[in-house]
């Protein structure tokens, strides 16, 4: 019995998902089920905070500061998604009680991902997460785009899972273990097979974090999926996959870092540059956010490529700030309505500030923050990433990073330009949904006022990487 209590938050989420599934059959009140799901996620936050740090089940499952911080970020992402669901479920034709339950299962998968210290636990978590996401992407059955997004994500996701599994089999075959720490002890660093294994696993994980060259699915899925689910894609799974990537690389192949560092190095540069250029031509705001997220993952990967405590610290700072910025941006995207219909074209934002001056200035500041302009939070994320890069003597990476950030400033500025400088087409309703304001204002003010006292986030990130360094 004691064994089970170690993973009480996971069990709690699992049980509440099952109970809600049964309740959903009898109760037609979807809002109630959704609120119960939010409640259970909030309880899970408290449970995770109070968990003792230890590694359990033959060291295949680790609960430490790192996993707890990631779990809390994932919970925040899930809660935000559920709140968005409440306000938009009817207009988006996704008024199904399965939504909160799938989110809960996906959250459970992500919790396993960030705690996994074993190839098998990792794969189980990843698949649980992915299977829920495939369904979520296609949830709007009446929409061609949504179905396309679901199918596309499913086929490419299955392919990447295959690659991942293939890599896992290589690693197991050449090291004789599935446990991350035991792999680190037992491998033969000359072995080519192991290297192939790392490459395939990294390819699979790069797909999950949507880093170039495995990013193809991202724009289509972001565009096709209903907006709350797009927000979920941007908020939770990427962060979870990043946590998994870090633990996999640092725990099992920390000594072998010269081999995988260059892979990360390459995908980081490719993500930053491709996103900076590709986003310029986008006309759909969700597609633009897809490229923006690819770019941000590129920056976050600089933190991984540094292979240092500063690198990991900067990665965590970056992810926290990324999460908050995206919450704000996606609540705005979800509230862009005209004549009761959502719109996604960037050009439809024109003249927004004449009708909604206060909202617009906040959105504009979010865009500046995404571009990394001080004094907004996004600047501090990039600042720490570059500190880590220069400390590890990766000057080239840092220079590419700043060049990409100047280029990407252009497309963020374009949105500001359309909102402020262009003449308005028609009036639109703007941020008028009470439940979204709860998300929008706190996250925006957090980004804007972050500079007043950034120390807590930085100390938290330092604390969270204790188990690695």
């Amino acid at each position: 019995m004691e064994n089970i209590l170690h993973i009480i938050p996971e069990i709690f989420i699992f049980c509440s998902a099952l109970i809600l599934l049964i309740l959903g059959l009898f109760i037609k009140n979807i809002k109630l089920i959704n609120n119960l799901a939010i409640l259970s996620l909030l309880i899970a936050v408290a449970l995770v905070i109070n968990q003792p740090y230890q590694s359990i089940y033959l060291n295949s499952y680790v609960i430490d500061e790192f996993s707890s911080l990631f779990k809390i970020m994932i919970f925040i992402g899930s809660i935000v998604t559920l709140v968005m669901f409440v306000s938009s479920r009817e207009d988006l034709h996704i008024n199904l009680y399965e939504f909160p339950i799938l989110i809960l299962f996906s959250t459970l998968g992500m919790m396993v991902m960030v705690s996994a210290n074993d190839l098998l636990a990792m794969f189980i978590g990843l698949e649980l997460q992915s299977l829920s996401l495939y369904v979520l992407a296609a949830l709007n059955r009446n929409s061609l785009l949504s179905s396309e997004a679901g199918i596309k994500y499913f086929i490419l996701g299955a392919l990447s899972s295959g690659l991942l599994l293939f890599g896992i089999s290589y690693i197991y075959g050449f090291s004789g273990n599935t446990n991350f720490n035991l792999i680190a002890v037992n491998y033969n660093s000359e072995s080519l097979g192991l290297l192939i294994g790392i490459v395939f696993v990294l390819a699979g994980l790069a797909f999950k974090v949507s880093a170039v060259p495995f990013h193809m699915w991202t724009p289509d899925v972001y565009q096709g999926a209903p907006t709350p689910i797009t927000a979920f894609f941007a908020l939770a799974p990427k962060i979870a996959a990043m946590g998994l990537l870090v633990r996999f690389l640092f725990n099992s192949f920390g000594e072998l870092y010269l081999d995988w560092q260059q892979i990360i190095f390459f995908i980081s540069i490719a993500s930053m540059m491709l996103a900076a250029f590709a986003a310029i031509a986008q006309t759909n705001i969700k597609r633009l956010m897809a490229y923006s997220s690819i770019g941000h993952i590129g920056y976050a990967l600089i933190g991984v490529a540094c292979v240092s405590s500063e690198g990991l610290r900067s990665l965590l700072i970056y992810l926290v700030i990324y999460l908050v910025m995206n919450i704000s941006v996606f609540t705005v995207i979800l509230s862009l309505k005209r004549n009761d219909a959502y719109f996604e074209n960037i050009s439809d934002l024109s003249g927004m500030y004449k009708n909604h001056p206060f909202t617009t200035i906040l959105v504009a500041l979010m865009m500046f923050s995404l571009a990394g302009i001080p004094p907004l939070a996004g600047f501090f994320g990039k600042f720490y990433i570059f500190v880590a890069a220069l400390e590890s003597n990766m000057v080239f990476l840092a220079v590419i990073g700043i060049i990409a950030s100047v280029i990407s400033a252009f497309y963020y500025l374009r949105i500001v330009k359309i909102m402020y400088f262009d003449e308005p087409k028609e009036e639109f309703d703007g941020v008028n949904i009470r439940s979204l304001q709860v998300l929008f204002y706190p996250s925006s003010f957090l980004v804007i006022l972050f500079f007043i006292y950034p120390a807590p986030i930085i100390q938290l990130s330092e604390y969270a990487i204790k188990s690695f360094y």
Partner: protein
């Protein structure tokens, strides 16, 4: 009295003003007048506080004064403020120009008055912060943060090609500055801190200095701006609203000059000495080439913008002589240019508000209808070309004196810039003010209103006062300039 965090008050007061103003509704003329008055009084109060700062400043002390230091991000990056004899003048210049700008925008801004004023007050916070900060990260924060309100001011309230200009302004400046960011990070890693007063005593190796100097140079060169990266400035000036041009010429360009004095030569004296010939060459090219370009301009604002580039060439010349005279001359030249070019843009604004064109050939013979305006414009034109008795003369003279002691040829070439300045300025004046009043719509023009007189009187007074009796200003600069020069010489030997 030193316990009062007066610099923080200066930085925060505009923010408090913004909070007040967000509470005021803006739905009719009455309320938009309220907004204007609120912003004006807040910025005027800030000006009074900065005057108090100036009078309680100890002129004999060359160290940083009114220092404040709080824990901010982590060990080595703190919230550290302080002023010396150089930065305090820029702070007073900033706080003086902002109320003037707000007053100048009373009639010319027709829509979104509230947002405009909020952007201006935010810009004031960033500008004061740049001159107060004694921490490189804090400095960068304010230096770059100012881009956001300026981007909006040009982009929303600017002229026809405002989008192109504001993008060019933003991206040019950003591209230059990110290299400075990398340099700041490198300093943070090698020296362990970004505290300016600590770094002024820190010795970087020669190779480090060269790379870091170039990175800082990339940022300041674009911002000041030096030839050949000056092209954003005429565009930005032409499209910006009058008050935006005033702030751009009056304060934003000075940030880079201040950065050269404080950081480039303070931290990297060896590299500065090495690159000084490059700076001299670029400055002299800038002085001559942009003066020639100014000669052929059809647009008044463009002409003044090019003349700004030429004037800033004198500033960089003076700074890199590493002499007390040179630095004093540069600072006075910057202060003087801050007043004079600001006033010239205001003069352009006066006629633009009446005729809505900046084309020089559309004017002529204004003196018969607008005598007061002709007088005002004349004073600033003369100050701009450096006539003795105006503030423009003092700075240029000191700079030429210091450059003469280094290299006679440089001095000769730089002096031709003064002649060219006289040519384009006087020619502009002749075409606009003198001649026969033959264009019909000009005969309807009214002379300066009371509000415009209030704007110009302090500027005229200062221009002439500094020109005739510059000693009070030099007294403030001198201890700090001497300290900088002795620090540089100490490091070089």
């Amino acid at each position: 009295m030193n316990e009062l965090p007066i610099l923080s008050i200066l930085i925060l007061l505009p923010i408090v003003g913004i909070f007040f103003m967000t509470l005021i509704r803006n739905n009719n003329d009455q309320s938009s007048n309220n907004l204007k008055h609120t912003a004006l009084w807040i910025s005027f109060l800030n000006f009074l506080i900065s005057l108090y700062l100036l009078f309680s400043f100890n002129q004999q002390d060359a160290d940083f004064q009114f220092e404040e230091r709080y824990f901010w991000i982590e060990y080595g990056i703190s919230y550290h403020l302080g002023v010396d004899g150089i930065s305090i003048l820029f702070i007073v210049l900033t706080t003086m120009l902002v109320p003037i700008c707000i007053l100048a925008s009373y009639d010319s801004i027709k829509f979104s008055v509230k947002e405009y004023l909020i952007a201006f007050l935010a810009l004031e916070t960033f500008m004061i912060g740049v001159f107060c900060s004694l921490d490189l990260v804090l400095f960068y924060l304010f230096f770059e943060g100012g881009l956001i309100p300026m981007f909006l001011i040009i982009g929303i309230w600017g002229g026809e090609r405002r989008v192109y200009s504001t993008f060019k302004f933003f991206l040019y400046t950003l591209a230059g500055s990110v290299f400075m960011l990398l340099a700041i990070i490198y300093i943070f890693i090698t020296a362990g801190t970004t505290d300016v007063s600590y770094l002024l005593d820190y010795n970087f190796t020669r190779n480090e200095q060269i790379v870091l100097w170039l990175a800082f140079f990339a940022s300041f060169m674009v911002k000041i701006p030096m030839w050949p990266f000056h092209t954003w400035l005429p565009d930005a000036h032409v499209e910006a609203p009058t008050a935006g041009s005033v702030i751009l010429a009056g304060v934003l360009l000075k940030m880079a000059g201040y950065g050269f004095i404080r950081f480039s030569i303070g931290f990297f004296p060896e590299a500065s000495e090495l690159f000084a010939p490059l700076i001299f060459a670029l400055s002299i090219v800038a002085i001559i080439v942009t003066s020639l370009i100014a000669l052929v301009q059809e647009d008044m604002k463009k002409l003044i913008a090019y003349s700004s580039v030429a004037h800033m060439g004198f500033v960089t010349l003076g700074i890199f002589t590493f002499s007390v005279q040179g630095i004093e001359g540069s600072v006075i030249q910057m202060i003087s240019h801050g007043i004079v070019s600001a006033a010239l843009f205001l003069c352009v604004g006066v006629v633009y508000d009446r005729l809505h064109t900046r084309e020089i050939s559309r004017y002529g013979g204004l003196v018969s209808k607008m005598p007061m305006y002709a007088f005002t414009f004349m004073i600033f034109i003369l100050a701009s070309l450096g006539l003795p008795g105006t503030s423009g003369f003092v700075g240029e003279f000191l700079v030429l004196l210091s450059i003469f002691s280094i290299n006679t040829y440089f001095a000769v070439f730089a002096t031709t810039g003064v002649v060219l300045a006289a040519t384009y300025s006087l020619w502009l004046y002749r075409r606009m003010i003198f001649g026969a009043l033959i264009k019909d719509d000009l005969s309807e023009m009214l002379d300066l209103t009371r509000r415009e007189i209030i704007i110009f009187v302090p500027l005229i007074t200062l221009t002439i006062f500094i020109g005739i009796y510059p000693k009070p200003v030099i007294d403030i600069i001198e201890p700090s300039a001497k300290k900088i020069v002795s620090q540089v010489n100490g490091k070089l030997n």
